[in-house]
């Protein structure tokens, strides 16, 4: 029987199938962070259980850490206690813990690939919904709750039901100014925030093959915003080139064997998907979100939609609530929406290519008056690379703050947050109510679009910004 990529990796990881239709799935990799792990470790301890395979876990604090001056010690605070707890737990159970000032520090979903911890053909989990990011390497990677983290600590396996499969074919040539962030926002607008629920998504098609690994990570990262825990791309030469030589990637003969195995990880030509969606990317424009769910987004040249034109009652009510929260009026051009803050970073768009693209827009310009803009590299490695390329100077000279790695204003668990009513152009993944701070208003977009908004002080079509070479 022809198999999908998802089927193949799934089959390779089934420890056993239960009579009730569930399966016990083996977990190869587990990324551990400070927010979802304390209760999991506590459960393990109170039951007197061992951690089964310490080599399968890496711990790092990313959500709650400050992105400002790292040379000072964390002040006594809940965040400090949470980081300290992770440090203690990692030491007690013998798993590597990457300190905040380490050159390998960063957001779990940025450093997993950087380290070569993320590999094709693996099942990778983390107590964080954006774990789907790692699917870019041809892995079944998904977010789990703290109880499931505890289960993985104790058993290295997890009970799951196999998902249905959805293939999203992206075809056509990517127009100038359109980024992969626009692909995924367009996909979510098309299928809705619940559209992927119950499915493992495979992204395929010529426009996906043309993407770099970092772009594929952005694409897979927001699968969860379409409701799907799993998003994946079949590994290819780009995948192998990205991974070769990474510290935890296989070496020598083992590398050759691994690549041979990874080359089998493609959906068979006649494999059948439960659902298929086709999108012509050549027709896309840069997207921005206007509401409080990621499906509430539109091309930058559109206007704020009018709820009174929506026939579905529930949708109309949701739209109206979104507009009330966002402080927007129907019919207003999206490009006239003024902003107060700009955030460039996150596991969605905090990688070096993202910063390069944003910097190329910013270069030689100034951040608009009354706009506070920050760039938060997704990892220390990204920060170091950017500084070697002089990107930090471009941002700083334009008036951006240049920060250190962490989740920052994507989750607003540290001091990087919006205040009541503030409006932010953000490269993160969620525009939920209060996501970037209580009462804050988020507009999602690509890094070049966020950079453009920083310069003009309003949502702006980046294609209209003059480039200084």
């Amino acid at each position: 029987m022809p198999l999908t990529l998802y089927d193949k990796i799934w089959n390779q990881h089934v420890v056993k199938d239960y009579e009730d239709g569930g399966s016990l799935l083996y977990v190869d990799r587990h990324l551990v962070q400070e927010v979802s792990s304390p209760q999991a470790f506590a459960g393990l301890k109170s039951a007197g259980r061992e951690l089964r395979r310490p080599d399968a876990h890496i711990a790092v604090a990313d959500h709650a850490v400050p992105t400002t001056d790292r040379s000072v010690t964390l002040p006594d605070s809940l965040a400090r206690r949470q980081v300290a707890r992770l440090v203690e737990n990692a030491a007690e159970f013998g798993i590597p813990y990457i300190p905040i000032r380490d050159r390998r520090h960063g957001i779990v979903h940025v450093i997993g690939p950087e380290l070569g911890f993320t590999l094709p053909g693996t099942v990778l989990v983390c107590g964080d919904s954006h774990t789907c990011t790692h699917g870019a390497f041809g892995a079944i990677a998904f977010g789990i709750g703290a109880s499931e983290c505890e289960c993985v600590f104790a058993t290295q396996a997890i009970r799951q039901r196999k998902q249905k499969t959805m293939r999203i074919l992206l075809e056509g040539e990517r127009p100038e100014g359109v980024e992969v962030k626009d692909f995924i926002l367009a996909i979510i607008a098309r299928i809705g925030v619940g559209g992927g629920a119950g499915y493992a998504i495979e992204y395929a098609g010529s426009a996906v093959r043309a993407l770099s690994m970092e772009q594929r990570m952005t694409l897979c990262n927001m699968s969860i915003e379409a409701g799907s825990r799993v998003g994946m791309v079949a590994p290819d030469e780009k995948t192998f080139a990205y991974l070769e030589g990474r510290p935890l990637a296989p070496k020598g003969d083992e590398w050759d064997c691994a690549v041979e195995a990874w080359k089998q990880l493609v959906s068979d030509e006649d494999a059948v998907f439960d659902r298929e969606v086709v999108i012509d990317v050549s027709e896309l424009a840069p997207f921005v979100s206007w509401g409080t769910t990621p499906e509430e987004c539109a091309p930058i040249n559109a206007t704020v939609p009018d709820p009174s034109r929506e026939v579905d009652e529930a949708r109309r009510a949701k739209m109206q609530r979104s507009l009330d929260y966002m402080g927007l009026k129907p019919g207003m051009p999206l490009s006239q929406i003024r902003i107060d803050r700009v955030f460039i970073g996150s596991c969605t768009n905090g990688r070096i290519e993202d910063l390069r693209k944003a910097a190329s827009v910013v270069k030689g310009h100034k951040v608009a008056d009354n706009v506070a803009a920050i760039v938060v590299p997704g990892s220390a490695a990204v920060r170091i690379q950017a500084e070697q390329e002089g990107l930090d100077r471009i941002f700083i000279e334009a008036g951006f703050e240049w920060r250190t790695s962490g989740c920052s204003m994507c989750v607003a668990m540290n001091d990087d947050r919006l205040t009541e009513g503030e409006r932010c152009a953000s490269t993160s993944n969620r525009n939920f109510e209060g996501r970037q701070g209580k009462g804050g208003r988020t507009h999602l977009m690509s890094p070049p679009m966020a950079a453009a908004a920083a310069l003009t002080g309003r949502l702006t079509d980046v294609r209209q910004i003059g480039r200084n070479q």
Binding site: R80, P99, R101, G143, L248, T293, G434
Partner: protein, 217 residues
């Protein structure tokens, strides 16, 4: 885990689609290290509106609701299990919605909470009963929701999850008791076939120079 068999209660309701886990449990409270005592932060922003308008969970008789009726995509977004712990701490044992965020849905079962998918006229009838503050009975053994007017509404549930809820069983205990030999055999075979999946001392030596966490002083 607290077993779930049958509950009778009024049902609180929230007529909104896509109520995400950030709404259910705002991120700034994720810094807390415990599972217990989180109920006071459930729906925090909705319960502390500047207008002073009361949220349904603070409005009698719904302040003692054990059932929560929602709409589409309830619990979408972040994987934070705190969203479920907060509802449990508040006394909610059952959430009925047209659809759920998948991770939230799975997290419910780990904490003795029964998530029920209902749509169309079934959900509408439950919502009406909730609005009238009727006592609603959710009976897991028979998989029925009983309304005060005698209407019985059936629901589906995965047989494994049903058994686990009824008996208060957790996955870890069952896997350790029944499946650990299978896991061992799987690991032996996988280590042979795909040795690169096991990080030996050579690769882990990459972490030999990790220092102590200096940010803690």
């Amino acid at each position: 885990m607290k077993p779930f068999t049958r509950i009778t209660s009024v049902a609180a309701f929230l007529d909104e689609d896509a109520v995400d886990t950030d709404i259910i449990f705002p991120a700034r409270f994720l810094l807390l290290l415990d599972k217990v005592g989180l109920g006071k932060h459930a729906f925090h922003e909705r319960r502390h509106k500047p207008s002073g308008e009361k949220f349904i969970l603070d409005t009698p008789p719904y302040d003692r609701a054990q059932i929560f009726v929602a709409q589409k995509n309830f619990g979408t977004g972040s994987s934070r299990e705190q969203a479920v712990w907060a509802l449990v701490d508040f006394g909610i044992r059952c959430v009925i919605a047209e659809s759920f965020g998948e991770i939230f849905f799975a997290n419910c079962y780990k904490n003795g909470v029964l998530p029920i998918v209902a749509s169309g006229e079934k959900l509408a009838a439950i919502r009406r009963a909730a609005g009238e503050a009727q006592e609603i009975t959710v009976d897991l053994p028979s998989q029925t929701i009983q309304l005060a007017d005698g209407t019985a509404i059936s629901f589906d549930i995965d047989p494994y999850r049903k058994n686990a809820l009824l008996n208060g069983l957790d996955d870890i205990g069952m896997i350790l008791a029944d499946d650990i030999e299978d896991i061992r055999a799987f690991e032996e075979r996988q280590r042979r076939e795909s040795p690169w999946l096991y990080l030996g001392a050579d690769k882990l030596s990459h972490f030999d120079d990790l220092e102590k966490e200096n940010a803690l002083g």
